[in-house]
Subunit: 193 residues, 2 copies
């Protein structure tokens, strides 16, 4: 019998920056200051925060995650959409930025207008290849995730991301976690289609 | 075949006050000023707001709903729990305040310490008796609610509230609505157990 229970951690809104954008926002030669390793190998929280600006409002103290990436990507919560004024901002898988929204970033040393990169992150589960085998899933397979409890729910359209740089962990965002009344470290049950 | 589709509207956090508490907070003889009728017969939004105070923080501009009730009841979002510092605040059906949390209310004319009344509202569906018959549900029956879409999910533990003062409508809160990417006026499918 394949396994079906997976650890869930909750993501707040956050931004990933390119080296070029990091230097525009924080100054030439600036490097990120790690505060905490995240569960996904090589990923970390940093001291750095920026302000994200939309047509109708802004989000201050917005956390930068490291390391730097090939393209700048800002992952907001659905609950941020109204505040920023970005109705229609698409739900996208990380790194799939076709059709994502434009936005502005303000840092201590400069600011930037990005033509794309603003998304609501698609709920997903990271699998190392061995775990994927145990769970019987393949990369980009869509599964459901059942969360038990008095506010229990089954989330549809959860994408499986399998690769050697991944570690077994489900990422829901704060809105999703609050809706089912869980915090970091809760468990969910994967339901295959 | 019974019906299974129901209109969903989203609730933000809000408070219901007794006449006595309303007068302490807003002054002797004060009455609520209606700004908008809500879908449930006799219920309305008001101009009045208060500040809700918890052990670790406060929520300002917190909306009062009318009319006055027999007991003061403050319905927060799960996402407010951390801000107020009320970890463990129970998920409760409206009016079922045994085991609810204490809290403080600050109004323009005075403030109040309540020994109970702070809850996270249990997701629920209002039915008039005729609609309940059509849907084949009885008062306090627990059903599931399926919301379609790219962020679709099936919420468990949705309580049916049937009575002549109710009008057919499902109430989810902002956290739940954001988690499934819907706004007011979305439709859900009732799934009986």
């Amino acid at each position: 019998m394949s396994e079906n229970r997976v650890l869930i951690n909750l993501s707040n809104h956050h931004i990933h920056l390119t080296t070029e954008d990091l230097e525009i926002l924080f100054g030439k030669g600036h490097t990120l200051t790690k505060t905490k390793d995240l569960m996904q190998p090589g990923q970390f929280a940093t001291e750095e925060t920026v302000t994200i600006v939309g047509p109708k409002g802004k989000l201050e103290g917005f956390r930068v995650l490291g390391p730097v990436r090939k393209e700048t990507q800002c992952e907001i919560l659905a609950s941020d959409i109204f505040k920023l004024g970005v109705k229609g901002c698409p739900v996208k898988e990380s790194g799939h930025l076709e059709g994502s929204f434009p936005f502005e970033i303000v840092g201590p040393a400069g600011s930037l207008k990005k033509e794309r990169g603003l998304i609501v992150a698609l709920r997903h589960i990271h699998f190392d290849p061995e775990s994927a085998k145990k769970f019987g899933v393949v990369d980009h397979e869509i599964v459901s995730l059942k969360v038990a409890g008095e506010r229990g729910a089954t989330f549809e359209n959860v994408v499986c991301r399998v690769g050697p740089t991944h570690s077994l962990e489900c990422h829901l965002d704060f809105d999703e976690g609050n809706a089912v009344g869980i915090g970091n470290g809760a468990m969910g049950e994967i339901i295959k289609k």
